[in-house]
Amino acid sequence: MANRAGTTTPPWRHGLLLAGFAVVACVLLWRAVELQVEQGDFLRDQAESRHLRTLPIPAHRGMITDRNGEPLAVSAPVETVWANPRDLPADPRRLEPLAEALGLDAGGLAERVADYRGRQFMYVRRHVSPDMAARVRELGIPGVHLQREYRRFYPGGEVCAQLIGLTNIDGVGQEGLELAFDDWLSGTPGKKRVIKDLRGGIVENVEQLREPEPGRDLVLSIDRGLQYLAYRELKKAVRERGARAGSAVLLDADTGEVLAMVNQPSFNPNRRDEIRPEATRNRAIIDTFEPGSTMKPFTVATALASGAYDPHTPVDTHPGYIWVDGYTIKDHRNYGQLDVTGVIKKSSNVGATRIAMSMEPEQLWRTLSAVGIGEAVGSGFPGEAAGRLRHFSQWYRADFAAHSYGYGMSVTLLQLARAYGVIAADGQRRPVSLLRLDEPPAGRQVIPAATARSLRKILQAVIEPGGTGTRAAVAGYSVAGKTGTVHKPGAGGYEEDSYTAVFAGMAPMDDPRFVLAVMVDEPKTEEYSGGRVAAPVFSRIMAGALRLMSVPPERVPDLQMAMQGLEEHS
């Protein structure tokens, strides 16, 4: 071991170098063991928290609009503030600006954060306004994130509340048409792949795996203007009468489309926390009641169709009551000798019973079931009631009598409107639709056309002086309709002073455009009859509908005559 200079290297130098290398190797080995064994779990977590994630992209829920495209339910993008409590600052005071920006109680937020400590996800506040979201973003508190969601807004508010229904906060239909047409309205969420950092923030959008497929829009048969009109009048009547509830249904006589369907009490669907369950009932479809005198026209229709009666056939209602199998059927007073028209005009129970009893039960039953009593409307509305009409083979004589003036069966207001729709459409029965139709569906002749036409004439008498429904009159138009004042059944028989006031009718009489049924439940005022409580509501809604839809009045002075009038004045 000699170098060029001739000096010899001391042997210890070789050993020293070897030892040096050994130490370095040991240090590296130790470090490797430390990383793999001691900190391995920690580092693996760290790595995993950085890898790719697949996230759903929320799909836009379709709009619900009225027949003219006016929005009744709209999904708007909003942001939801969420937090990873592990990453939040430990000092609760640093969360105060956040609570303030979101309008939350600072103490409450601190408590919730403490409850969620140890978990990785909590909602701070869902569905915040864009301004709030911007402020949260500015604050930049670690561990606080924003996420995009959709919120459902209902521009129709309380006017269409029960019909449209509600979604839950995740945008899934819960009630009403939102539930019935949930599949149609909701789209398919998309998927995207992202790289997220350990705080959950998205570092990079990698790719879109699937486009979100937006839901489809739903066009209802409702007309927003008519809906509002009906709601305003019904609400006023229910409030003035101190009534428990009320409903109104307006149908297009030619197509069977529902133009308005309103209920009281109602609620504002945009303020979920104030909703009372009884206000969410769409009573017009899901609640049934005994239709009472509003069914008498169908007794008369049966009689007219049988050929044994015409509108002027005399009917003796003397002495104002009649015994049927131990039951007394009474009129308000003794109307004496009436004709068929008079029985309807005065709403005589005795008369209706006499007419019915001269026929077979099966004939009456056939008419009632032909116009859809006891048969579900098939609107698709969740909880729709079918009402009840017992088969005539199960009727005793007293039942037969009761059916002739509308007791012993139950209907929904929508069914009642549909039955009157048959009278309006010259005996044609069409399906009722909550969705806008492009062309009127085919009808089925269930009552002879001539019978339906003379029935309308009879029903017109109800509105004329001396009838029970004079308050349903609409200036300038001829109205046909029928009142109903129904004793409500309670525990152990019918209650003395609890009523349902009903009015169902149509206008204009010659060629009806609208069919309207109004029901006010348990009016608390002195006046409680269908003619006093429900008929005025009918009149106001019908007058407004005829005007809004520009139906030409039948009895209005001509322009010529008006000009002459003006000239005479000047």
Binding site: P130, N205, R232, P553, V556
Partner: protein, 92 residues
């Protein structure tokens, strides 16, 4: 021997060229992605705005509001029965 050198040189150039192309394309894709993200963001903003405007329109055109304004601020009344006339088109 000379042929092989040329081949090697050519391959080296090709490798260099494709490496540069990869760099360029990567850069390009990043830029396009940034642009896409910006456009998506803008689209989202427009969505928010559209929904907001729809709701605003719904609120402003609410029949109750229009009626209130018509009655209270503009002193409008429904057409009364007496003041209504029918205008017939000639020949009817």
């Amino acid at each position: 021997m000379a042929g092989r050198s040329w081949l090697v040189a050519g391959l080296v150039l090709a490798v260099l060229g494709s490496a540069l192309a990869v760099i360029y394309m990567r850069h390009e894709s990043r830029q396009l992605f940034v642009e896409l993200s910006a456009l998506q963001e803008a689209g989202h903003e427009l969505d928010v705005e559209w929904a907001r405007l729809q709701i605003e329109e719904g609120t402003l055109t609410a029949d109750g509001r229009i009626e209130r304004i018509a009655r209270e601020r503009l002193d409008m009344v429904p057409v009364s029965e007496e003041s209504r006339v029918m205008v017939r088109i000639d020949g009817e």
